[in-house]
Symmetry: C2
Subunit: 321 residues, 2 copies
């Protein structure tokens, strides 16, 4: 089936077409570009919610409950789950199977896992494209993207979200303090999960103090970061979390500053530019007749990687004229 047919299917709400398009953008950069160009004018309608946070805080369960809760209010939910899986085999290891247990087959909820793979920036690009596919389908009011919050590429992914929910839980150790402080600046809402644990109240207090201390209670462009206590096992706080996200959505809708939109567009442009160049440069490098020779020279330290890169780059420029 060609891209055009799949895109027709996408606009008609066909799930198979949606799934195939996402597979295409994952596996084929050139197809990804073709698809993204075609669907771009149809994007921008779904509210993109990023759910991030360190491993072990129960993000996946919370996303399940959030999707179910929101779905009960009549909203259609698309979920992109970015799996912290192998850089080598590139499979979404747990993948849809485990994640989907609770929400499989529920009308109006779509879930897709994406794996960490390929080149720098590749995952961020593919995730963004997948979000755009769900958005452009016109089938989903909300697209939730879930990812592990520690790495640079996850930060990149979170930049795509309009509302960022940072999930934390009690007793995560010292390192979380550092992460929290960094997270402060990207999170619009904090969900303190596992709120059934008695120590959860301390985590909430810590968080409140930190927001005060960092002066971040003044918020990003006027929005005060909110804290919600949630428990996926007790199924509590989910409604409040949905409310807070919708409040933030409304806040953004009223804000509509040109600066905000231009910042997002600039990020998209730069990210696309980087991915394009990376893909082309790597391809050119590997095709270059001097590639293997340069590598041997690097091993023998007869040349440094910078000089070698210059040689490849020069060749690339000349070939692109």
């Amino acid at each position: 089936m060609n891209v055009e047919t799949l895109i027709d299917g996408l606009f008609k709400g066909d799930i198979i077409s949606t799934t195939r398009l996402i597979s295409l953008i994952e596996n084929d950069f050139l197809k990804a570009e073709e698809i993204s160009r075609r669907i771009y004018p149809h994007t921008g309608n779904a509210h993109v919610v990023g759910i991030t946070g360190p491993p072990g805080v129960g993000k996946s369960s919370l996303v399940n409950k959030l999707a179910l809760g929101w779905n009960k209010r009549g909203k259609k939910i698309g979920i992109i789950a970015v799996d912290p899986s192998s850089p080598y085999s590139g499979g979404a290891l747990l993948g849809d199977r485990i994640r989907m247990r609770e929400i499989t087959g529920i009308e109006g909820i779509f879930i897709r896992s994406m794996a960490t793979r390929g080149s720098l920036g590749g995952l961020a690009r593919a995730t963004r494209d997948a979000i755009n596919i769900l958005d452009a389908s016109g089938m989903y009011d909300v697209v939730i993207v879930e990812t592990v919050g520690a790495g640079q590429s996850e930060v990149e992914i979170m930049r795509v979200a309009k509302t960022v929910v940072m999930v934390l839980c009690p007793g995560l150790g010292d390192e979380i303090q550092a992460m929290k402080a960094g997270a402060m600046e990207i999170a619009d809402i904090f969900a303190v999960n596992k709120a059934d644990k008695p120590e959860a109240i301390e985590t909430v207090n810590d968080l409140e103090r930190m927001l005060d201390y960092e002066g971040l209670n003044e918020g990003k462009a006027g929005w005060m970061p909110q804290i919600v206590s949630t428990s996926s096992t007790m199924n509590t706080g989910i409604d409040e979390l949905v409310n807070k996200i919708e409040e933030h959505q409304e806040f953004l809708a009223n804000m509509t500053s040109e600066e905000f939109h231009e910042k997002r567009a600039a990020m998209e442009l730069i990210d696309t530019l980087i991915t394009k160049i990376e893909n082309e440069a790597i391809k050119k490098a590997k095709e270059s007749p001097v590639y293997n020779e340069l590598i041997k020279k690097i091993v023998e330290k007869r040349i440094d990687p910078y000089q070698a890169a210059d040689i490849i780059l020069k060749e690339y420029m000349q070939s692109s004229r």
Copy 2:
């Protein structure tokens, strides 16, 4: 002070010069290139050990104990700690202060924090350069690089290490299972930390089963991944961890396959190429007279980011002739 003077200082083992050079490569890509070119022929002597794993497993404490234990055997240790800090403020938040408590002022241990900041690939590049600086100084037998193990950029950093230690601990939840499976393929040694907890034995058993299941007990190029139980608080297992790392170092020394070295050189070349192009392309993009116009067009959806990137790219190619 100019770069040449600092590099002279570096080769003489001057700590101030070392620190200043690392600051330069963090903050100035052009200086980084100049420095890296100069020191490259002097690299390749230190054993680079990557310590990774999810937040909350106690990596920093373990790195402290490891450095102390190894140092007692007469080895000089350089540590690069990659902090999971803010993408915006770019500071190493906890930074050296907390990390250094235990090892500050100990002869033969050097520690430096690096922050997650800047463009994609930037952190991996800066970390690699910092490792090379410590290596080239000739002052350190071992360079330890510590990072959070979840993101793509952390995987990139781990590619620089010759021995990768994956730190885990009991009771990390389902998500860790997924991460572990991915980690299997990059880890040479697993440290099950917090081994004072009774559940640690289960984690070790799980891990053993997984290694069997994945067929990874056959190992990477003949190395069987090893499992060590450690406790930073009880200070146990540290000696064994040092032993295992040294065993792996010896294993690598005996292996010396050309393929191994060429693979590493190829990664270095590609990573350098990407960073070079990214930096130049972003600079060109922002300098371009059409940049602001393109962003406005993206906001209005009159152009998609791919088309806009093509325009910038074309301009870049022409200007580089």
